[in-house]
């Protein structure tokens, strides 16, 4: 961004600013013309011809008793895709933990927040109050969104991330000590693995009781009830567990990295 700074110093063989501007102007005009051309050929606003979408909108409630069609697609019609996506995250978190764990062992030490005579000042009273007040509602909202996946917008994925942010609030407002006590890592890992396994097991349940993998084999109930839509609600909870565990692990690994390094600096300055 040296556009305003006059003629910048230029090395041998480097393109001059004037040439670069000319190149930008020419390609910019061409791109703009192409965009206008493409916009002219677009269908009208709100025009929709997706047969699959229209069909699902019509059949999802009578067929699957799920009032949230998105969840019906994610956990029933295309449940197998969700299984793949879930394991992408599973593998990503595993990889992250593997890479960062090695580094952490090299510089292991108690983070400065729970060392005596720490240098870093804690959060202010206002921040503390707000975060403490927000932790409860955040957890409730997460449970609500996970538990109502098949009825209202949301589901295991969104709710899981919200649940993990409750932990972030604890860190923001409280002590690192409280954070450590709140997230016993083995338990978090078990939660994550349980979620992933539960998804597969519910899928296998479809094979045993129904006809195909992830086939809905539970009673479907009344559309709009919490206990409706058969296997969708348990699947939503399974994904919720996995995502919560996964994101808590990611946040913990990153926080540990940061905090351990901060301690080392604090130790030097003492």
């Amino acid at each position: 961004m040296s556009a305003g700074g006059g003629a910048p110093q230029r090395r041998e063989g480097e393109i001059s600013f004037a040439t670069r501007r000319r190149l930008f102007l020419v390609s910019g005009v061409v791109l703009a013309a192409l965009m206008v051309w493409a916009l002219g050929g677009m269908p009208g606003f709100g025009d929709y011809h997706g047969i699959y979408g229209l069909l699902l909108n019509r059949v999802a409630v009578p067929e699957e008793h799920a009032t949230n069609v998105i969840t019906a697609v994610n956990f029933d019609y295309r449940g197998f895709d969700t299984l793949g996506e879930e394991f992408i995250l599973f593998a990503a978190v595993l990889g992250l933990a593997l890479i960062l764990r090695e580094r952490r062992d090299e510089e292991e030490g108690p983070p400065d927040d729970d060392a005596t005579g720490r240098q870093v000042s804690g959060a202010s009273v206002a921040v503390r109050l707000i975060t403490v007040a927000l932790v409860g509602p955040t957890v409730v909202l997460a449970v609500y969104i996970i538990g109502h996946g098949a009825i209202t917008p949301g589901g295991g994925f969104q709710g899981g991330v919200i649940a993990a942010t409750a932990l972030l609030l604890v860190y923001l407002g409280g002590e690192y000590v409280a954070l450590r006590r709140l997230r016993p890592l083995p338990l978090v890992e078990i939660t994550k693995a349980t979620g992933a396994a539960a998804f597969v097991l519910i899928g296998v349940g479809g094979l045993i009781f129904g006809a195909a993998f992830l086939e809905n084999f539970l009673p479907k109930g009344t559309p709009g009830d919490v206990f409706s839509a058969g296997t969708m609600q348990p699947l939503s909870v399974a994904v919720g567990l996995e995502i919560t565990g996964g994101f808590v692990l990611i946040l913990s690994e990153f926080l540990d990295q940061t905090l351990v390094l901060r301690r080392r600096r604090g130790a030097r300055s003492q």
Partner: protein, 79 residues
Amino acid sequence: MTVLQIVALALVAAGAPAVVAARDPLRQALMASFYGLLLGVLFFTFAAPDVALSSIVIGSVALPTIILLALAKIGDKDS
């Protein structure tokens, strides 16, 4: 198109350059977080609440958090 949709589209159009214009990574992370929220509002006004929720939790919570933590680590190394 309703007024709400037009406002949301305009905010998103203004928000994206604002993220790029913020040169300081810390400000950029906060702007990106706000932009994630704007995207959420946009999806919500276009009757896609599921996508709105996903956009908010990832775009305005998870991603900026990871960037902030990475910045904290880099900043520590520099000093």
